[in-house]
Structure formats: C-alpha cells, structure tokens
C-alpha cells in the first residue's frame, strides 16, 4: 500500500489529466484531440488501477485476468467494427 502523499499526488495528476482531455478538444484539431484523449484516458486508467486498486501489488495473475477481459472487449469492438468496413 502506498502512503497518503502518493495517493494525493496521484489524485492531483488525475485531475490534471481529466482537465487535459477537455482542453484538447478546445484547442486542437479533432484528430489530434481524439488521439491525445485516448492516451490520457489510458494513463488515467492505469494510474487508478495500478495505485488506487493496488493492482501493482497484487499477483500478476490478477492483472493478466483483467487484461484478458479488456482484450475481449477490444476483440469484439474492433472485429465488429472492421466487419462493416
């Protein structure tokens, strides 16, 4: 378990990243904002899962299981999306 300072620091970073997503669509082109938002969302998810849910401290098998679930979602969405191209 991390200490309170680390949790607080991550909280601040999460707020900044959340604001970043909003700001991107105000100042950049749609494509750039889209790509940057996806990157920020991934970063936020990794921070929350890794530190707040303590996934970093759990056995790797838990991470693999969650990774498998995320893979299933991407498999379904990407393959279904591709099927109508």
């Amino acid at each position: 378990m991390a200490d309170v300072r680390t949790y607080a620091l991550i909280y601040v970073v999460l707020l900044v990243l959340g604001t970043g997503k909003f700001a991107f669509f105000e100042f950049f082109t749609y494509q750039i904002a889209l790509a940057a938002t996806i990157a920020l969302a991934v970063a936020k998810i990794l921070l929350i899962a890794g530190y707040y849910q303590h996934l970093l401290e759990e056995p790797r098998s838990i991470t693999y299981m969650m990774g498998m679930a995320v893979f299933m979602v991407f498999l379904l969405a990407v393959a279904a999306g591709y099927s109508i191209q």
């Binding site: 378990m1 309170v4 949790y7 607080a8 909280y11 999460l14 707020l15 959340g18 604001t19 997503k21 909003f22 991107f24 669509f25 904002a33 889209l34 938002t37 996806i38 969302a41 936020k44 998810i45 929350i48 899962a49 707040y52 849910q53 303590h54 759990e58 056995p59 790797r60 098998s61 838990i62 299981m65 969650m66 498998m68 679930a69 995320v70 299933m72 979602v73 991407f74 498999l75 379904l76 969405a77 393959a79 279904a80 999306g81 591709y82 099927s83 109508i84 191209q85």
Partner: protein
C-alpha cells in the same frame, strides 16, 4: 447460522448452502426443465407430422414452443445440469470442503430456479417470446412485431434469461475462486481430474461469454421495457445483435459441451481401465478450444452484410478449431484401443456420445465454409447438426448421471435397465435427428415444408417419441434404484481414479474425516492439527499454509435462508418489471410522442409487484449483509496462480473482470453503431461538456476519499473512516444530482431516450453507469451503518478495500464515458 436440518426435512432444501445439496437441487431442477422442453419438442414434432401442420398448435403457439424449447434446453437444462455435477463433484475431486462462497452458491441456484419460473409464467402473460432462441433483431423488439410478440410474456422471457445470466455469473465467480484457491495440497493444475479441468475451462469461458450476453440482454430489455431504439433501427441494429449474441453464442457451444467432454474422459478412463492417452495434450487441446472459441463467432453471420475478408478469416478460424477436437476424439479412441473396455451403462452412453459428436462435428464443417453456408443456413441441416452436437453432450451427461448415481444416492442401479435405456435412447436419437439431414431443404422454425420431405419428417417425429420414451425408462431406472437398489459401496467402479470415490456413498456433510493431501503423489488423508496451527509454513511454490485453526475444529456454516429470500425478492421485482411497458407508452404519448411498445394494457398489479419486490430485496439483502456466516478458508491448499490474495478479494476481481466485458460490450455497441452511421454523422446528445467534466472531478475526488477510507480503516481511526466514507457517499450523490440535471435539461426540451438511436445509446450507457453508482451508494450507506452501529472494519478492513475496488472501477468506466459521449 443454525445447523442444517436432516435431508428428509423440506426446510433443509430451502436453507442449505452445502455444495452437495445445491448440486442435487441443480440436477433435479435441470431435469424438470428437460421434461418441460422435451414436451414442447414433442408437441411441435407432432404438429409437423404433415406439411402445413396437424393443427395441434396454432402458428404463434408453434413459434412459442420452438423458441421456449431452444431456450429451455440450452440455458435451463444443459448448463445447469452440468453445474449440478460440478457443484456436487468439483469440491470432492479437488479435496475442498465446499465452494469458496457457499451462500452465493445457494443464491446462484435460487436465481436459476426463479429465472425458469419466469419463463413458465411468460406463457400466461399473453404469450411467451416467440422469435427463436437466437432472438434476432429486429424481431426481438416491439417495433416490427407489435401484434405477435410484444407481450408482457415476451418481456418475462427476456428478463428470465437475464436473471439466469446473473445466476451464471455468480456461479462463475464462485467456481473460479474455488478451483484456483482450494485444491488439496499437492494437487497441481496438471493433475486435476479431467471433469474438473473441463469445468474450469467452462467457467473461464462463461466469465467472458455470458458477460457479453448480459450486455446484449440489458440493451434488449431496455428496448422492450423502456422503448429505447438499439435493435429497432435500420442503422446496424440487426448486425449489432448478431455480433453481441454470437460473441456469446459460439463459446456457449463449448460451454455446454466441455462438461460432457469431461464426463467422457472420466468414464473412458474408468471403464477402459487406463489413464487417458495423451492426457497432457488433451488438456492443452481443451485450453486451445477455449481460446479459439472467441475467434469464430462471425461464422454464424455469413449471410449478413459483413465483409468477405472477415468471413474468410472466420472460415479459417472455424476450421482451425476442429483440429484440437480431432486430437481429443483420437485420444478417446486410442484409450479404448489401449485399454480393456467394460461395457457398463455409463460407458455405453459415453461411447454413444463420442459417435454422435463425430457425426455432429463432421456435418458442422459444411456450415463453416462460406459458400456452403449460403445454401445450408436456416435449414434443417443446421437443426440436425446442432442437435447432433448438443444432444451428444446430453448423452454424455446421462452417462455422468449413471456414473455418479451410486455416489450421490448410495444406491446401485440395474445394469439391465440401464442398457435398455441406452438402446432405446440411441435408436430414438438417430431416428429423430438423422432424417433431418435428409430433409435438409426444409426451412427451420416453420411447419410448412415440401411434401417430398414428409416421410423423413414423420420418421423424425416417431424418433422423437422413441427418444422421449428412453427418458421414461431412465427415470424408472433411477426411481427403482432409489427405492429398491442395493447399497452402493464407496467405490463401485474398479478403476476409478478420482477423490470422490475415496469417501463414503453418499459422502458426509463435511466431505472428509482428515485433510486430503496429494503431497506424497497419492491421495492421503492426514491429521495435521499441529501443522495447521503453527502459522505460515511454505510447503512448495504456490502452496500456502496459513495461521488458522485446525481443519477439524473450525466450524463451517451450512445454512442460510437469505439466499432464498433474495431470490424471491428479485423474482417478484423482475416479474413486476415485465409489465411496465404500457406505462412507458402512456408516458411517451402524454408528451406527444408516438411509440410502438406493446399489445398489453396497463396493469397496476405490476407496479405493486415492483414495490413489493424492492421491499423484500432491501430486507433480505440487509439480513444477508449482517448475518454471521463462517466459511473458513482451507489452511493448506494449492493456490497457483492466485496465491497472495484471499478468496473474497479474488472473487471481487473476477466479478470486475466480468463487469469489464458487460460495460465494454455496451460501449462497444456505441462504437459499432457510430461506425455504422459514419463517425462524424453521430449527434452529440449532452447539451454541454461541462457537466461531464464536473462529474469527472466529482468521481475522481470520490476515488481519493474511498482510498482514504481504507487508510483510516487500517489505522483503526473510526472518525476518519466514517468521514471518508461519508464524503464518498456525498460525492456519489453529487454525481447523481449533476446527472439528474443533465437528463432533466434534455427532457425539458422534449428529448427522451426513445427520440433517436443516439439518444438511446447515450441514456442507456450513462444510465448503466449511474445504476452502478446507485449500487455503490447503497453499499456505502450499509457500510456507514455498520461503522456507526458495530465499529465495523476497524479490526478487519478488507470490506473497505473490496468496496474501493468496485468504486474505482465505476470511476474508470467514467474515464471512458466522459470523452466518448461529451467530447468526441
């Protein structure tokens, strides 16, 4: 909780949480649904005696019977019957005392039973769902079929299936935790019995596949109950349903068949008197099939407008999945060749299953080829192939029933009657299904067919009744055995190898008199009161010895009435929900919108049922939450690869993995529909992006407060814990208030969830997230009550951590929803 009443007491079966009792309940209930589905099959086979029908069933009754037959057999018989065996046998085979979460196991059963009762009731609510077990869009929504099936009963069918999936999800979590964390010392994964292996892979497939089905059903229920437009548009609705359904549906074939395969492996080993040939490779082949099962689903969509490239790819992966099955089939054949076969009833059924499966498998190859599928799709070829595969699974399950009957009941059955049963079964099966290959040009699900196929259909109908008669023989055999059969020894089979045969028939409540251990390479029962009380000795990698009390001394509870109570509450609530569509139609029409929702009239009784159901649920969930129910974790167990977390934490993570797929499928539906419409053509629904950003801040802050709650709990700081939990609750309510403002604004300008596809997707996806927030609010309120009333979580802070895991997940989902719906 109280001690368990004797088996002769009705109360015992209402309160039991013991895995063997629950297994028997599953087996008995599944057999009831087999009979129900079977009678429907006999009815529509009789209807098909002549082209155009005999008049036994009306057109819509025929559709209802065909649909309910498919749903009942696939969902309410096949998997639950296997689950019955798994409940009874998996803990015994791995050396566990019970499943990891016995009360959840009982809850899973009650949800299963009540989901089936909902299906039964649906026939009396204007007609059950009648659009086929695949529930293809747009026939599954009222827009296109208002007179035919937009009934309250149709809603019951869909909600019944949803409740069934919830039951499956609970069971999946339970078995995954149990098999991974409760194996006897020395029992590595490689050495697990083959039935347990097959069930382990089954529940892994269930975890992801049924989550996709749950998402599909949530969207469908939303369309049927609340009039959203997911499956009612010309903008990809039909394809969306097909993708979601078959992403579940193809793994479902293996979910149904794997336990049967496991029984075949067990019985072949026992009755050939030798270890399965190529055992390790068979396990690898099963793992491969489990993985590949998620890579073939679009072969069910060759006749849709998906592109040729993906069809070709799916044809290749479909052919690929037959290869591991070839290995398994040859392993079984070679086991017979290398062994000395004893033609007992269980073996005959298993051998029959193998023969039928080979035929079913070969005829399926035709359907896997794109060009042939263009011809065969929607014909009786599919019906025959499908039944040769699925009912070969039933054949193996019957083998399992004969094989384990002496263990479960303590009585031997008559081999003569058993063999007669097999002979009639096998003849009936082939007389029923083989002529359907010859009548393949008949379109499925209709009773009008070409007169030239009449002879084959009549053969098939005769076969159906012979096949049905074989089950009467089966029931008679078991009833006779139960009443008059000789007492079964612990192990009636000479070469059985698994642990359930090392205990009395039937096994005692606590399963074992000593601790089962495979540490020496063989099954032994050890008395280790000294070893288990000295705390924390590592035996080998992945084997944990924890500082808990002696195996024999720590009391385990086996009885709780609250799972039944929650089951009743949920059932009443769901039954009430089935009747709300007319009110939604009134609501829409009062606002000047014309919607097609249902042929049913408003009935206030349904609103009453919703209220009563919620009250029962609130009371029983509360009592469930405060009940002291002791389930000791095994002191010494093999836990690879999930050592280092406790059972409950692993259970929470497994549940979250399932929820990832539920939410992912709902979000994937949005992405798919938007791609179909053209990404840039999609209308953004929220009136501004600032409410989304505001709620992002709110949820992120609540994630911080909930982690602080954990910190305070660890420090045993009650005030801090209370403050942090209170702040989390306040933030959750703030989130809901912002959401209500946002929704309210849309309503004020006359926009609702039925207004357009974009509106439906926005309201349902964010609504699903809001539903998670509401559940979190209820849990937080309960936890705050416990902190205030009994100083909870100061000694054991784990529940705060588990709640945090859930709450952070809700936050993560919002991280995705915010940009998707507000910014993009």
């Amino acid at each position: 909780m109280s001690d368990l009443p004797p088996m002769t007491s009705v109360k015992r079966w209402l309160v039991t949480t013991n895995h063997k009792d629950v297994g028997i309940l599953y087996l008995g209930t599944a057999l009831f649904f087999l009979l129900l589905g079977g009678v429907m099959a006999l009815a529509f086979r009789a209807q098909m005696w002549v082209p155009g029908g005999t008049g036994l069933l009306g057109a819509n009754e025929f559709n209802q019977a065909v649909t309910a037959h498919g749903l009942l057999m696939v969902f309410w018989f096949l998997s639950p019957f296997a689950a019955g065996f798994a409940n009874y046998l998996v803990p015994l085979q791995i050396g566990a005392d019970d499943l990891a979460f016995p009360r959840m196991n009982a809850l899973s059963y009650w949800f299963y039973l009540f989901s089936g009762i909902l299906i039964g009731i649906s026939f009396f609510q204007g007609g059950a769902y009648a659009g086929g077990w695949t529930m293809y869009a747009p026939l599954n929504v009222p827009t296109y079929t208002p007179a035919m099936e937009a009934t309250t009963g149709g809603n019951s069918t869909i909600l019944g299936l949803m409740l069934f999936v919830i039951s499956i999800t609970i069971g999946t979590v339970n078995f995954l935790v149990t098999i991974h964390r409760s194996r006897a010392e020395g029992l590595g994964l490689w050495n697990m019995p083959m039935f347990t292996w097959s069930w382990l892979l089954t529940v892994w497939m269930m975890l992801f596949a049924f989550a996709a089905l749950l998402a599909a059903l949530l969207l469908l229920a939303s369309d049927r109950l609340f009039l959203t437009q997911y499956f009612a548009t010309e903008q990809g609705s039909g394809l969306l349903w097909a993708h979601l359904f078959w992403f579940f549906g193809h793994p479902e074939v293996y979910i149904v068949f794997f336990p049967a395969l496991g029984i075949m492996f067990e019985t072949f080993q026992t009755f050939c008197g030798r270890r399965l040939v190529g055992r390790k490779w068979v396990i690898i082949a099963m793992v491969l099939v489990a993985v590949q099962s998620f890579l073939v689903w679009m072969h069910h969509m060759f006749l849709t407008t998906i592109n040729l490239e993906i069809k070709t790819l799916m044809m290749a992966t479909t052919i690929g999945i037959s290869l591991p099955f070839d290995l398994m089939v040859f392993a079984l054949i070679y086991t017979m060749v290398k062994g000395r076969v004893r033609f007992t009833t269980p073996f005959l059924f298993s051998l029959g299953a193998l023969v039928l499966f080979i035929l079913g498998g070969i005829t399926g190859v035709f359907l896997g080829a794109v060009v042939l599928d263009y011809e065969f799709r929607g014909t009786y070829w599919v019906v025959a192939h499908f039944h040769y595969v699925m009912v070969s699974g039933v054949t193996a399950l019957v083998a399992g029933l004969y094989y384990w009957w002496p263990k479960i009941t303590g009585k031997m059955y008559s081999e003569t009657l058993g063999k007669l049963n097999f002979a009639v079964y096998f003849i009936g099966f082939n007389l029923l299904y083989f002529p359907q290959f010859l009548a393949w040009e008949t379109p499925r699900r209709v009773f009008h067919y070409d007169g030239g196929a009449q002879f084959y259909h009549q053969l098939s109908t005769v076969g159906a009744f012979v096949f049905g008669a074989s089950f009467i023989i089966m029931f008679a055999t078991f009833v006779y055995s139960f009443l008059y059969g000789p007492k079964a020894p612990d192990n009636p089979w000479e070469y059985s190898r698994t642990a359930e045969w090392a205990v009395p028939s039937p096994p005692p409540l606590e399963n074992w008199t000593g601790r089962p251990s495979y540490a020496s390479g063989n099954l032994e029962f050890v008395e280790d009161s000294r070893a288990a009380t000295d705390g924390g000795v590592a035996h080998s990698e992945g084997t944990a010895t924890e500082a808990v009390a002696d195996h024999d001394e720590e009391h385990a509870d086996h009885a709780s009435i609250w799972p039944l109570g929650i089951g009743i509450g949920t059932f009443v609530f769901f039954l009430g929900l089935t009747g709300i569509t007319p009110y939604l139609v009134q609501f829409a029409e009062a606002r000047g919108h014309s919607v097609i929702g249902t042929s049913a009239e408003p009935n206030a009784a349904y609103l009453g049922l919703i209220a009563v159901g919620l009250v029962i649920l609130a009371y029983t969930l509360f009592k469930f939450g405060v009940e002291q129910f002791n389930v000791p974790e095994m002191a010494i167990a093999e836990r690879w690869p999930f050592g280092g977390v406790d059972n409950t934490k692993m259970g929470v993570w497994v549940f979250l993995a399932s929820d990832v797929v539920v939410f992912g499928a709902a979000i994937g539906a949005f992405v798919f529909l938007r791609i179909h419409m053209g990404w840039g053509n999609w209308e953004t629904i929220p009136f501004a992006s600032w409410p989304g950003l505001l709620n992002t801040y709110v949820l992120l802050t609540s994630s911080f407060t909930v982690i602080m709650a954990l910190v305070f709990a660890e420090r045993k700081n009650k005030k801090g814990l209370l403050g942090a939990m209170g702040a989390t609750l306040a933030l959750a309510l703030t989130f809901m208030a912002v959401k209500a403002y946002e929704y309210g604004y849309k309503f004020s300008i006359g926009e609702y969830w039925w207004t357009s596809l974009e509106h439906s997707v926005y309201f349902v996806t964010t609504g699903l997230h809001a539903l998670h927030v509401i559940l979190g609010v209820l849990i937080a309120i309960f936890m705050i009550y416990r902190i205030v009333s009994v100083d909870a979580y100061l000694e054991d802070h784990r529940p705060v951590e588990f709640f945090g895991l859930y709450w952070h997940f809700v936050d993560i989902v919002w991280v995705i929803l915010f940009p998707l719906f507000y910014l993009m």
